[in-house]
Each structure stands twice: as structure tokens, then as C-alpha cells.
Symmetry: C2
Subunit: 181 residues, 2 copies
């Protein structure tokens, strides 16, 4: 027997780096960045007894008022049972209202209330600030490059869906007017 159990358990002591042509550095930066990116709204949501799932629903209902349940499921890529709980809570707490579809009355069009709009804005504010501060700090300046990059990160099939969404605040800010830095 050259080996009993194929050299079971031999510890490797060298760190992985770029030797293998794999960019571990950016991979983990993306992980850290996303984690902190979501931490701001998470804190606010906790005050309402809501979670990240509520945020996503609230976000897309505010982005595309009047979307149907089926459309929302398609965007979020979750099942209707998963959506049911969070949507019900958002409706019960008067953040979202349902209206029967005008053409097809089986459908439920989802709209934010003023309360829902306000919460969506409150949740998005720190995220937007974080992004734009990071753009400034990193010297990327305007949002164009990042928009292209992030869009390129998305699976091609999904990009169409994204393009449906309302226009970007393209460059209504030339010099980052929120004077945060």
C-alpha cells in the first residue's frame, strides 16, 4: 500500500494567492463589501422587525409600482410561499397596498404607500451614500464604470430585466453635491 487513505489530512500551509491565476483578493473584497453594504439597512429594518427579504420586496415595489406578484417573484427568484410571509407583513403594516389588475382582475398590482416609500428611501439612503463615497474615495468618480461593471457581473439573461427598470440618476450630480467627504 503506497498510501492507506490517500495521504489523508496532510495540512497545506501555504496561502492561496494569485499563483493559480485566481483572484481571491477581489473575491473576498466583494464578500466584505456586500456584507457591509447590507448592514446599514439591516440595522434600520431590525427596528421594524423586518429582515433583508422585506427590504428587497419594498425596494422593487417602489422601483416598479404596480408590478404583479408574479413579476416580483420573477425578479427576486424566490417562490410565492417565500414571498407570502414578508409581503403579508408589509401589507399588514401599511407599507404596501394591493390593487386588482385593471385588465386581469386575478392579478394583484403592488404599490407602496407613503409609509412604504418613506421606508424604502430611508433604507436606500445609507447604501447610496456608501456607494458614492466609495466612488469618490477610489477615484472612479462618476458612476458609469461601476454601473457597467456590475451589469457585466450579472448573468446575461437577467440584464434585460434590469433594463426595464426606471432610469438611473445618471449624472444629476456632477461633483457629488452631498458633500459627504
Amino acid at each position: 500500500m503506497a498510501d492507506r487513505k490517500t495521504v489523508r489530512g496532510a495540512p497545506i500551509k501555504t496561502p492561496v494567492g494569485g499563483q493559480d491565476g485566481i483572484d481571491f483578493s477581489l473575491i473576498e473584497l466583494f464578500f466584505f463589501a456586500y456584507r457591509d453594504f447590507t448592514s446599514d439597512p439591516d440595522e434600520i429594518l431590525a427596528d421594524y422587525g423586518f429582515g433583508r427579504a422585506h427590504h428587497r420586496v419594498l425596494h422593487f415595489v417602489n422601483r416598479r409600482p404596480g408590478l404583479t406578484v408574479a413579476e416580483l417573484l420573477d425578479v427576486l427568484k424566490i417562490t410565492k410561499q417565500s414571498l407570502a410571509r414578508v409581503l403579508k407583513q408589509l401589507i399588514d403594516t401599511d407599507h404596501i397596498v394591493q390593487l386588482p389588475g385593471p385588465r386581469d382582475r386575478r392579478q394583484r398590482e403592488l404599490y407602496p404607500t407613503e409609509k412604504g416609500r418613506a421606508l424604502a428611501l430611508a433604507l436606500a439612503r445609507p447604501q447610496s451614500r456608501r456607494i458614492h463615497t466609495a466612488l469618490g474615495d477610489s477615484g472612479l468618480g462618476n458612476r458609469t464604470s461601476i454601473e457597467l461593471f456590475l451589469k457585466a457581473m450579472v448573468n446575461p439573461e437577467l440584464r434585460a430585466q434590469i433594463d426595464i427598470l426606471p432610469a438611473s440618476p445618471t449624472q444629476q450630480r456632477s461633483g457629488d453635491d452631498d458633500g459627504e467627504h
Copy 2:
């Protein structure tokens, strides 16, 4: 009556955009990008009966072989109870081994095995490819801008932690001896 219940449930039909100075577009692009970014390894992990939590542990153990349980908890920002299960599975399946700390024998230094190293590389490969394809497609070219941006997205307190990690693939670092030997 000006309002019975503060205009309860009045549906808002206008989409949120940049009017409020908030960049909803980039916020949701970040969401979509991260979702697809994690979907590649998720598929591979499913074959092993593993989840995203296993991936993260495997990643950091490969990045910093010999880190202790406490250090891993600190990086991941989870509790030891959360870690326990996934770590146990990774050890039982011979992806990770534990060695008693040389100075302090209470500590467990975590190392990847060859198997664990191979899996970490397999998981990272599609992610690295996605990132670099996106960099090319978006015209950002080299990874420098994105690295700066993502690092700027991370909470300042955490950036120190990140800098400990091994070098990036493009330029091997000059100084920064991995003095741990």
C-alpha cells in the same frame, strides 16, 4: 377631515428614481451582481451537500492557513455555534484539518488539506472568471480601480483585517513578508 388615518393605504404610482438623490439603480445592480456572483459556487457546493457557509470557511482557511477558530470567527463575524456545524462537516469530509496551536495548545490552527485546497480553487475559479470578464467588458481593464472601490465600500474598521491577507495576483507584493513562516 384632513386625514382619518393619515391617508392610509393610498397607493403611490410613481417609481422612485434619482429624484431623491438616491442611486437605486446601483443599489439593485449590486444586489443582482452579488446574487449571480455567488450562484456559480453554490451549484458546485450543492454536489457536496455544502452551502455558502462552507464556502466562506473554506475560502479563509485557504487564504490564511493556520488561522485559529477565534480568528475565523472574527473574520466571518458569526458565532462559534454557527461555525461549529459547517467546520465539523469540513473536517469530517477531510477538507480541513486542525492542529493544536504551537504556542498555545488550547488553540486549533485550521489548515486546508489537498482536497480542501482543490475545492476552494474549484469554487473560486468561476467567480474569478466572472469578475475578470466583467472588468474587460466594462472597460475597467485592470483590477486596481475595482479593488479600491470595493475596499472603500468596506467599513473602515475592517479594512485593516483585509490588508493582512495575501497578495493579489497582478502585482506580487514587494515588502510584506509573510513572516508567519
